[in-house]
Structure formats: C-alpha cells, structure tokens
Amino acid sequence: MPLTQSGSVPGARFVDPSILARIGNLDLLARTVVDGFINGLHRAPYFGASIDFAEHRGYVAGDDIRRVDWRLFARTDRFYVKQYEADTNTNFCVLLDVSKSMGFKSREVSKLEYASYLAACLAYLAHRQRDRVGIITFDSEVVTHVPPSAKHFNILLHTLDRAKAARPGQLADPVKKLAEHFHRRSVLVLISDFYEDPDVVLEAIKPLKFLDNELIVFHILDPAEVDFSYDDASSFEDLESGEQLPVVPESFGDEYRKLIAGHVNTLSTKFSEHRIDYTLVNTKEPLDRALFGYLSAREKLMRVR
C-alpha cells in the first residue's frame, strides 16, 4: 500500500486543505467539500431506509405513550407500540483521537485540524442522510462525548472546533469505555494516528465491533512522519511523553521509513482481516482528494456487497 498518493486530480475542484484552513467555518467548509461528491456517489445503503412501519410490540412500562398505537388498542384493547423502520436508522459517530501527538504539524495544518475537517465532512454527509451524528473525543480517557443525534451536527462542529491536542493519549482504555455507549448498530469513524502496537490497536478496537457496528478507520499522518524529511541532527522530543532522543536523520531516515511503512502495512493487513475499512490519510493531500479516494473505494465495495 502506498504511503502517499501521487498524481494530481485534474481541475480546480480539489482544493488544498491548507487553503481551506484559512476559512474558519467548518460547517461551510464541510458543505463545500462534500457537495462535490454526494451526487450519486455516496448513497449510504445503511441509512437509506424509509420510515415504513416494521412491527408492533407490546407496551412495557416506560415506553413513550406517544408511540402507543391507539387504533390497535381500539381494536384489541391492548396497548401496542408501533415500531418503524425509520427508528432503526443508524448512528454515525466520530471517534476522534485528540492526544497530543495529533497536534503535530509540519505544514500549516495539524493532524488534528485535518482530522477535524475529515470528521466534519463525514458528519455532514451523514447528517444529510439524516443519520444521527455524534462525536467522542478522547486521549487517554474520554474528553467529550456528544451522543449521536439528528440535532447534534452543530454541536459536533463546535466540539471539533474546540478540540485541542493537550494530553498524552492511549487507545485501549477510552475505547473500552466508549464501547459501552453503543447500544445500537452504528457507523463508527475512528480517526487517530495510531501510535500503538498494531496488536494493541486491534485488541483495543475489538469491542467497537460488537453489536455489528461498522468501523471505519482513518489513519492520519503528517508528511514529516511519513517521509522523515529532516536535515539537521537534532534532539527529537516526544510530544506526549516529553522524552528526548538525539537523532541524526541521515542515519535514521531509512530505518524510520522502513519501520513506519511496516507499521502501516501491518495495520492495514490486520484491519482488513477484521473487515474494517482502513484508510491512510496524509495531511499533505487535499482533503477532498482523500475523501474522494475513500468514498470511491467504498462504493466499489458496496457494489460487491
């Protein structure tokens, strides 16, 4: 799997995310970007359900009495609650890693900002499809939790806007806690830089796969992390632990690039094995191109499915 996608898409439709970053309104941004794709490309097969009636079930205490089918009560003298297909519409939840390493940037856009654009765009798509959108940000624990709701799109955007990469992160603990929140089948979009061992990552996100959730993983990396384009021998400081290491890029570069490629490869392989969509995103790529790539590939998969 190539780490970077080369070649340029013809036309001016693809805008460099660094230019978008100058526009502060994420909502607008998301629309601008996603509007370019939704025409016929992304049909959201899960979410495309109608509001057709599905079945009745017996009223149990605690049920919303507004949902009691009074006509049926009249006929049968029993309380039934109507259940609609529309009610089963999926949740769309963004799991955004806001650990300190996500704040890294070698260009204008940090990984967190880029992830935020990505999350906003996807949430916008989902919202357009009337899915309930929610967001959970986490580092070593859950930072903010916006439960999925049809009305939470703006809150989601606010949350993204406020998100700051402030603390060291860790995947296992917060994900374990999050898994408890999903009682419905959901579409979960996990955006992280995955600085963990692939096995640990897999082990951590397994609970998310319960309830037959669909998990989509975006692996965000800065070009500097991929290419390791450093010149001077310097002391490298770990953004999260603060640990420092003297590094001579000349002698470290090849080894590092080999290691990160291996890491990406391993993640890709392991996610595939667990039927998890895995996409590597490089922040130097235009966001629309990243989305386009993902959605195109997904459509092909859908067709297969």
């Binding site: 400081e237 003297p246 470290f252 080894e255 290691l259």
Partner: protein, 683 residues
C-alpha cells in the same frame, strides 16, 4: 618527567574553553518536536552513539591539542631519559683539541696534516658537542674557548700557525684536564695532535686526566725524519794587531740514520756571507766546523746555516758578537814593599771572560785620574790616597764604581768617606800564636760565593789567616764571611749604584796563605766581576726566555721600542717592567724611542736545540701515563652525571614534537569538524 618552564602549565586552564564551547553548543542544540519516538527508539542505539562519539572525538582532539601545546611551552624533559642517554654513551661531548704548534711541527707537511686532523675532529662534532682549541708548545693557551660553533673552530684552526716554541705535553694536558673538569657534559675527551717528540714528555710530568676523561692521540710524525741542526756555536777570541778577532766554531748535528754528505755550512755576519764550508756528518752524530776569524763590530749579527732539510727552523743559528770589553781595575798599593800586589795582578791577568785591564800604582804616585774610566779600585793594604779625596771616592762609588779594600796593617780610611766603609776598622788581630784563623762562615747566597755553593766547589777552610784587622760591622753593611772566631772577614756596603767590599786580611803572603790556595783565583775574579757589576754578554737566547731590558738595555735611557723578528713593534715606557718574552726565532732589536739610525741593541734568539730531536714517542705510552690506563676501554664504565635540566631539555627537545603533534591535531580537528558540519548541513 620534569618541566623547564612549569609556569606555562597554567595554560592548561585553556582546556576548559573547548569543553565550555561543547557544552554551550549542546544547550543551543535544536529540539524538534515529534509526535512519537515509538519508531525512532526502535532504531538500534549505535547510530546515536556514533554521533555522540564523533562529538566526543572532536572534543578530545581539541582538548588534547591544547594540552600538547601547553606542554610544549612548558618545555618538558625526561631526567631518566637524560641519564640513560648519558649512560649509553650518547651524551654530548666536551672535546679539547690539543694542537701542537711547536717549532718541530714545521717539518715537511706535519703542520698541514695536523690541521687536517683537527678539522676532522671538528667535523666529527655533533650539534650538542663543544670543543676547545688549545695550541701548545712550551706553554698551552686556549685559542678558542669551548664552543659548538664549528665555523669558528675551523677558522681558528686555519688561522693558527707554527711557532718557534719547544714541545712540552705537560702544560697542554694539564690545561685540557682543567677545561674538561669544568665541563658539565657527559663525555669528555682530549684529542692530542702532535708529532710526539720524545723530548716533549718527561717521566716526571704529573699531568693526569681524571676518571671519565679520555685522551685520543693523532700522530703526524714521519717515520724516518731527516734533520740537520746547528745546536750551538762557540767563539774563540784572539788579539791581532790591537784588534780582537773572533773565530766561530759551529756544531752541526745529523739526526738521520743516513750520513749527511757535503753539507754546506755558511757563516753570515750582518747578513753578509763570510764563508761556506762543506761538512760530512755521520748518521746520528755531530760534527763541528770552524770558520776563519773575523773582526767584529759591536752588536754584529751572525748566523750559521747548515744544509737544507724539511725542518728549516733549526738549520740556522743566530748569535750576536761584539768585541770583548776588559774590566779596568786600578790597584793602589802602599809602595813600601815589593810584591804586595803580586798575587792579585797574577790572578787578574788570567781572566779572559772578561779580561781584566789592571794598573798598579803606589799611593804616593796616585793622581786624581786614578778613578777615571775605572770599574774597580782595589786599595791593597794601603792608606787612603789623599789625592782621590773622600768626596771623589764617594762620587765614584755612587756612579757605579766598585772598591775593594784589602785591610792590612797599613790600611786607613778617610773620615769624610767613613759611611762608605762597611764598618769601622779596628786594630790588627794577631793569630800567629796558637791556631791560625780560618774562614768559618761564608754567605753562599751572595753572588760572590754562589759559585762555591755546590759541594767540592772550593775549600776555603784550608787557608790559614795569621792576622786580620778587626772591624766593627756597620748595621747597614752585609757580612759575607767570618773567621772561625766570629770576627768579620768580609763585608759589603752599597752606596748609590756602586759597592764597597772590605777584606780584613791581606791578599798576599804577609798575613795569610790564602793567595796560594786554589779558591783564591776564582774568588778574586768573582770579587772584581761583582764590584764591576759585570754582566756576561749573551750571544744568543732561546725562544721562551724572558729578558729584562731594564738591565740588558740599561744604556738606553727614556722610552724604547722593541722590534720583533716578524717586524712587530712594541714601545716600552720609562718605568715599565721592561720584560720581553722572546717567542720568535731571529733577531730582536731594541732602539731608543725616536731613533732611526745607529746600530740598535740586538738580541739573537734561537729555537730550543731539543726541538731538532724528532725522535717520536709512542702515543699509547703517553696515553697510558696520562690516563693511567693502557687503553680507553674503561670509558664506558664511567658513571654518568646527570645533565643539567636545560641541557637535558635541549638535548631531548620534546617541545618540538609536542607542538607539532598539537598543531597536527588542530589541523585534523578542523578537517573533521568541517566534514561533519557539511554533512549535517546537506543531509
């Protein structure tokens, strides 16, 4: 390890500079924030380590370079190393080159070979060695003080020339010992370059080199040297037609093993050849040749030359001849008895060197002219001649005249000249009864009796004295002889330049039989010579002698100058010592200052006749005698003395290597750091 200038070690503080720079650079190092070191930490650590080592290497190079340079300035040296070097015989040498410049070195090419040998010794010196050039003949002098400057030594050798001196190894070896004993260098050597004449080394010489000094010899002697020499001449004087004629006899010695045939021997007077005779001389023997008599003027310069050989210096013999001048003696006798002066006149008639011109007058016939042109006046048992007068006699004595008073029973002395007489004449003492008197005490330190000093050189005790005049010796006078009873027999008194001697008995057979004894004649001669202040004229002198011109050229009053045979002129002021050392062969002239005409007083100077004897000495014999060892093998066993710190440091010169190493390190450091920075820049 020691340091010559340890204060420079304070510069080691400069080592902190690169360390500080390294520390400062480390702090200023850029910190790059990176999302995670997860992968970087997995990269094997050696890469990091290598980077660090490179920096440590630079630091170490800088620190070491500074330390080396500081140590270089502190001038380090190893005391042990200096000792070891000395013990291994590799120490610097103190060399004394003893170059023989005696007259015999003028033989053939001896002198050139000797100088070549000296130059070879100088050429063999290393940079740390020192050498002293000593030129010696009869005496030794430091021609060039201890120096490492080879050019100066070579120049001194080239400037040296053969002298006219005799050869004496003793003074030279003593001087070498003195120079070497003062030296602080490890190896001390004397190199003796000579023709090793046997006569130059006497077994009684006490010249010895101390332990640790070695003597190397370089002989330039020729194995079969042929040499003719004229060691001396003699003069036979004869009167001829009221003139004195002199016949010169010259001895010629052949030192070769072959006979010298038909050798021309030439006599030259005042530069003009008078006569040449042919002579054949047997091997290692001498022959003499007598030339025809000639009439000499005063101070005539004579030279006898014999043949031609490789050593010309001893083939010529110089001398000065002059007509002999007899001592004029006036004997005043009483005249009342005949034969009173018989023994005296007979004794004085015998003298030849000098001759005595004797006039005997009786006191009654004495005229005031009796003192004119006389050197000595003898008052032979007579009353004082009234015509002379006390004042006239006083003047005569003070001008240098001599008076011998033979005090018999007739003798009297004028009161106005009483202070001239050594004592007051008393009454005659009769020793006819009982034992006669004899001479019991003689002052052998006095010039008159000096010749009798040696054993069996004159028996004064055999003379019987039957009567004498008592004399009360004046404290100002000197008693020269006493009788066995302690009475004064002879006393002397000086007045001005002259002398008055009184003999208290007679010089005839009236009171004593002394005149018939063998010692009478020489005593009378001695008395008259002494009173006349007679100095024998020396026909020649030998190189090395010192003459006192104040006495030999006393007739020159005022300043005088001396011209050496080489033409060098030195002026002697009045009142100066007047000593002149005769160090050249030839004729020295002494003239009054300012005088250009007239015949100067001349001194003939010849080389020591022993220089003609070229018989060589075995150099190893000399070495054994001087060092106390048959060979020089013992030199290695000499315990080395440590070099002085300055010498040790100079010899080792470690600072030079340290400085070079320091600079090389700095250069390497510059290259390495440049490469490193370039790599870091273009990565």
């Amino acid at each position: 390890m020691s340091f010559l200038t340890p204060l420079f070690l304070a510069g080691l503080a400069a080592i902190s500079i690169p360390i500080l720079i390294h520390l400062i650079q480390r702090e200023r190092k850029r910190v790059v924030q990176f999302p995670s070191l997860m992968f970087l930490q997995r990269i094997p650590y050696h890469s990091v380590r290598r980077r660090r080592i490179r920096h440590w290497l630079l630091l170490a190079m800088r620190v070491t370079a500074i330390a080396l340079i500081v140590f270089a300035f502190a001038r380090p040296f190893f005391q042990q190393g200096a000792l070891a070097a000395a013990a291994a015989g590799g120490g610097a040498r103190e060399v004394v080159i003893l170059l023989d410049r005696s007259a015999s070195m003028g033989y053939g090419d001896h002198w050139d070979r000797a100088r070549d040998a000296a130059r070879r010794v100088v050429g063999g010196l290393s940079a740390d060695d020192r050498a002293t050039l000593v030129l010696f003949g009869r005496n030794a002098e430091e021609n060039m003080r201890a120096t490492s400057d080879r050019a100066r030594l070579l120049a001194a050798i080239s400037a040296a020339s053969v002298g006219s001196d005799a050869t004496r190894f003793g003074p030279a070896l003593k001087l070498a010992e003195s120079i070497l004993s003062r030296s602080t260098l490890q190896r001390r050597e004397a190199v003796l370059i000579s023709d090793f004449q046997k006569i130059g080394w006497g077994s009684a010489e006490d010249a010895r080199l101390s332990e640790g000094m070695t003597l190397t010899t370089e002989s330039v002697a020729s194995p079969d040297a042929t040499n003719l020499s004229v060691p001396s001449v003699t003069f036979a004087r004869s009167a001829f037609a009221s003139q004195e004629r002199i016949a010169v006899t010259a001895g010629v010695t052949n030192r070769a093993d072959q006979p010298a045939r038909d050798v021309p021997v030439t006599l030259a007077i005042d530069g003009r050849e008078i006569e040449t005779k042919r002579l054949t001389i047997a091997p290692r023997s001498s022959a003499s040749v007598t030339f025809a008599p000639f009439t000499a003027e005063a101070n005539a310069r004579g030279t006898v030359r014999a043949g031609v050989d490789p050593l010309p210096a001893d083939n010529a013999f110089n001398f000065v001849v002059a007509p002999s001048a007899p001592i004029s003696v006036a004997i005043v006798e009483n005249g009342d008895r005949t034969g009173a002066s018989f023994f005296l006149t007979r004794a004085l008639a015998i003298g030849t060197t000098p001759a005595f011109a004797v006039d005997v007058v009786s006191v009654g016939r004495a005229t005031p002219a009796v003192l004119d042109k006389r050197a000595v006046l003898i008052l032979n048992d007579t009353q004082f001649p009234s015509v002379a007068g006390g004042a006239a006699l006083k003047g005569f004595v003070e001008r240098g005249g001599g008076v011998l008073v033979v005090a018999g029973e007739r003798s009297s002395w004028p009161t106005d000249a009483a202070d001239l007489l050594p004592g007051k004449l008393g009454a005659p003492v009769d020793r006819l009864s009982g034992r006669s008197a004899t001479l019991g005490y003689l002052d052998y330190s006095h010039p008159i009796f000096e010749i009798f000093k040696a054993p069996r050189s004159g028996d004064f005790s055999s003379a019987h004295i039957f009567g004498y005049r008592a004399i009360e010796a004046d404290p100002m006078s000197r008693v020269l002889a006493r009788y066995d009873d302690g009475a004064v027999a002879m006393a002397e008194r000086r007045a001005g330049a002259g002398r008055v001697i009184v003999w208290t008995s007679t010089l005839d057979d009236s009171w004593t039989d002394f005149a018939t004894k063998p010692v009478f004649l020489p005593l009378v001669h001695q008395l008259v010579r002494y009173l006349a202040r007679y100095e024998p004229t020396t026909a020649w002198m030998t190189v090395g002698q010192v003459v006192d011109l104040a006495s030999t050229a006393a007739q020159i009053r005022g300043d005088r100058f001396v011209v050496t045979p080489a033409g060098q002129r030195t002026t002697q002021r009045v009142g100066s010592s007047g000593l002149v050392e005769l160090d050249e062969q030839g004729f020295y002239e002494v003239r009054p200052a300012g005088a250009t005409t007239g015949r100067p007083q001349t001194l003939a100077v010849n080389i020591d006749p022993s220089e003609a004897d070229l018989t060589p000495l075995d150099p190893s014999e000399l070495v054994a005698a001087v060092t106390g060892r048959a060979t020089q093998a013992a030199e290695a066993a000499v315990a080395p003395t440590p070099l002085s710190p300055a010498d040790a440091e100079r010899r080792q010169a470690l600072w030079w290597y340290l400085l070079l190493a320091g600079l090389a390190l700095l250069a390497a450091e510059t290259v390495i750091s440049n490469r490193l920075s370039q790599k870091e820049k273009f990565l």
